[in-house]
Amino acid sequence: MEKAKADIDYNDPVITIRGLEKSFADFEVLRGIDLDLYQGENLVVLGRSGTGKSVLIKIISGLMRPDKGEVMVLGKDISKISDKELQELRIRIGFSFQNSALYDSMTVRKNLEFPLVRNRKSLTRKEIDQSVETVLDAVGLSHTINQMPAELSGGQRKRIGIARTLILNPEVMLYDEPTAGLDPITCIEINDLINEVQQRFHTSSIIITHDLTCAKNTGDRIAMLLDGQFQRVGLFEEVFNTLDARVKPFFEYNFIQ
């Protein structure tokens, strides 16, 4: 499905990152990252494995602390807010994990209810059921409501993982390798779902991937992480219109081989 034109407000950044640095022991992963994610935008972060793409979104969601730099998410500096403020902020951020991270011991229904009953205590049983049905319908998996995660396919798990984040109506979505390990048809379905989420739930998203088809189909802008910094940022064609030996193999592997 062709990506519909997104309604992006370039005057309203929801995430602003300046001079972000992160190291593990002696290994510098992020070396002064600068980035803006605008309201309504899908930004794809590309890069080789181990270049710190997942570290970046873990810092944005407060799962990791930066060593240096400023990370403003929805107007709040993630490294300076209290635990309570961080918890409130996280409700406004959806995180779709690489391996879905569904709770093994709970059914799909319980998985979806879990964040809702803990963060929206005033909701009635009927309202909770309605929310669960709405997000399941949005990901096209209403029939799996009483199934356990172990009974689902990889693609279904990914969709349920996305549904679980959508149930809290997040303003920002962070996708960690949404198409990793899936067959091409399911990848297309997940790409369409990411675009549908952007349109239907008016989210701004960061999509971490090294799947260029996913990047091309979902991204309004591409940011290429090279040597711990965003060295190429722009439209898909702009980023790959280069002879840079670090960038070319990405394109050639995905579209020529």
């Binding site: 409130e88 996280r90 709770y103 803990r118 963060n119 993982g161």
Partner: protein, 269 residues
């Protein structure tokens, strides 16, 4: 054939020095104390996960019930059988119920219950939380605005602290029943007389120390299992290590605590 250990490659690979090991031990001690403090900080503040605590209590009880029934009964039966010849030398078989009750109430019931629970429940907690850690389920809880420590750790530690004393009381009962079976078969002691003789030597301190032990053991099993699982890493290998570490560390701690509590209870007798 040369042993693998004598190969030059292996010889070059030295383990961490004594200083490094000692330093690691102190760091672990500091970390586990921080973990315990965090438990007390979070467990008794709202929101309370009462439903989950009850579910975990049920899980703890059910996981160990059959094994505890069997082990407790056999322990009582065998202990009585083995003690008879020694007492018979002095013609004191009538003291058997008192001997059995003191041994079971003061030491065996809480200890057996704790060791079985450490194996069954502690390992299960370590493996479950370890697997949740490596599959990012704990991170998923955290980013969805839920406090995973409260939901996963506090509930499990509270559950083992509540359930182990109940199981320990039950172990004492079935062990004394085992003792009764042996006494009734050999001496023909009536059921009423047996229980009268069982309770006669027991003091308030015996009941309190037995209960205190079970509470401390339950807390230890929960906190050690959760600590090992919650901070597990290195993929599936880490899950196995968490389960194994939960059992070994809890058992070691249980024996150390047993010595301390026996010593403290002795001051009140």
């Amino acid at each position: 054939m040369d042993s693998v250990n004598s190969s030059p490659v292996h010889a070059a690979k030295k383990g961490p020095s004594i200083k490094a090991r000692l330093s690691n031990a102190f760091v672990s001690l500091y970390e586990i104390n921080k973990f315990i403090l965090r438990f007390f900080k979070e467990a008794f503040l709202p929101p309370f996960e009462i439903k989950e605590v009850m579910r975990q209590c049920y899980e703890t009880g059910v996981r160990s019930f059959t094994l505890i029934t069997f082990t407790g009964f056999i322990t009582g039966l065998i202990f009585t059988k083995q003690s008879r010849p020694s007492l018979a030398n002095f013609g004191a078989q009538s003291w058997l119920p008192s001997l059995v009750s003191i041994a079971i109430m003061r030491a065996l019931a809480p200890l057996i219950t704790a060791l079985i629970a450490a194996g069954k429940v502690g390992s299960s907690i370590g493996a479950e939380l370890g697997s949740m850690r490596v599959t990012e389920q704990i991170d998923a809880m955290e980013v969805s605005g839920t406090k995973p420590f409260k939901y996963l750790v506090c509930t499990r530690v509270l559950a083992t602290t509540i359930a182990i004393p109940i199981l320990s009381t039950y172990t004492a009962f079935v062990a004394l029943l085992g003792g009764y079976l042996n006494v009734a078969t050999n001496e023909g002691t009536s059921y009423t007389t047996y229980w009268e003789q069982v309770f006669e030597p027991l003091t308030f301190v015996d009941f309190v120390s037995s209960l205190a032990k079970a509470i401390v053991f339950g807390f230890t099993i929960g906190i050690v299992g959760c600590y090992q699982g919650y901070f597990s890493n290195k993929g599936t290998e880490g899950v196995g290590k968490a389960a194994n570490g939960a059992v070994v560390t809890a058992m070691f701690m249980i024996f150390v605590e047993e010595i301390l509590i026996v010593q403290i209870a002795g001051w009140f007798r």
